[in-house]
Symmetry: C2
Subunit: 245 residues, 2 copies
């Protein structure tokens, strides 16, 4: 029995999120269909996390076990010809049999993309949040940097969150601009439900002048979801990289 | 009567090219529908050039005349709410009444994008030519630079070309890489039918080692379409910018 770790990229637009749901098209269900077509049996796959409907991935990781004798390179090719055009396997390696895509993960990186232009650009439709008002990436970068460190991020978790431990460590957080594209990048040991989208929504409020970078500290300390920004739309969010030991 | 010059961006995938064709969805036809909905009458629009089915544009230019009293900014907004998501107006200005998007054009710039990675990337599906074999951008850049200057480009025009004058001036031509994305950029006073795609196809042959950069000169001198590369697929091509006096 072999355990394979695969990295996949997908455009989330067509999917009801990553996680399998009955009677809905999901990334995991679509991947399982392709894998079943190859292996002849439906395999259990373990994903590194859930992603919401409309959220994209540059490097989502999952693993599965199989008795099939196949090399990682052949597995990539065999799956890519069976997958639709909005999902691709981009990497594959054999890992120890007890490797688990979720539990073995030590760090994840997300991107949130803003298209900051006067008028919409069709090439970013459904791939970045369109924001036609001024955006000062240096100010946003200062606000983003306030999230680094180990904090209780309860104020940045979807309301109704029942998690006991809402403390997470953010290793890096910053904002950069390339032309009209403003990218918020955040890397941490884990993220609460909707956390990156709520932080992105908070950055939008900073752009609008409703919050200053200095307010972020108080927001975190408040542990109160009503003190933070809106949940930014899913189509700007990308699970960019997943790190293992 | 006012004459408006508009710049539009579009994803060509869904369209049977720019030019209106009976019973087929085209960029021009779709734009005319939106404009008719706004003006109440079907206006003649003049495009800067034709683009083939599947070819994209970052900055296609067109003009039309109207008696409607509307500012360029309002015109952009009013058209964008009426256009589908794969076409956007990105600029608009009033121009002299005799301005003509095709005849007044002095220079055009095209991009041809190659996705040079081992495995397909869903975000570049239909937006770049996937080329999974080695590509030396420095070698390609040397080949691309051989096209600059004033030459008879008959060898780089679709066979069956009946144009009398196949001489064009190329101002700039080069290849750069950003990660997996290899971009061929070419700027000239005009282009023959399929010229950029045949040059891109010739660069592919250079990548495969079938031609050297030094062969380009002989190819141009041959004036023989059979001596040059294949016509690269349309979905890697972008009309990037159009220049006026």
């Amino acid at each position: 029995m072999k355990n394979f770790l695969l990295t996949i990229a997908y455009i989330g637009t067509r999917y009801h999120g990553y996680q399998v749901q009955k009677n809905l098209i999901t990334v995991a269900g679509t991947f399982q269909d392709a894998l079943e077509d190859l292996l002849g049996v439906r395999a259990d796959i373990t994903g590194c996390s859930r992603t919401d409907s409309g959220v994209h991935a540059n490097g989502y990781c999952l693993n599965f076990r199989t008795d099939m004798k196949i090399s990682p390179q052949s597995l990539i090719m065999a799956l890519n010809v069976r997958l639709p055009e909005d999902i691709s396997v981009v990497d594959c390696r054999e890992v120890p049999i007890d490797f688990h895509a979720r539990y073995s993960c030590v760090r994840k990186e997300y991107l949130y993309l803003f298209l900051n232009s006067h008028f919409p650009n069709p090439f970013y439709h459904n791939r970045a949040m369109f924001f036609p008002h001024p955006m000062d990436e240096k100010l946003l970068d200062r606000a983003a940097k306030e999230f680094t460190g180990t904090h209780d991020f309860k104020a940045f978790c979807a309301s109704g969150c029942t998690l006991k431990n809402t403390t997470r460590t953010i290793f890096e957080s910053g904002v950069t601009r390339q032309g009209d594209l403003v990218t918020f990048r955040i890397c941490g040991d884990g993220f609460l439900y909707n956390m990156v989208r709520i932080i992105a929504g908070t950055l939008i409020e900073v752009s609008k002048g409703r919050f200053t970078p200095e307010n972020v500290k108080e927001m975190i300390l408040s542990r109160d979801r009503t003190k933070t920004g809106m949940t930014a739309p899913p189509h700007g969010l990308y699970l960019n990289r997943v790190f293992y030991e």
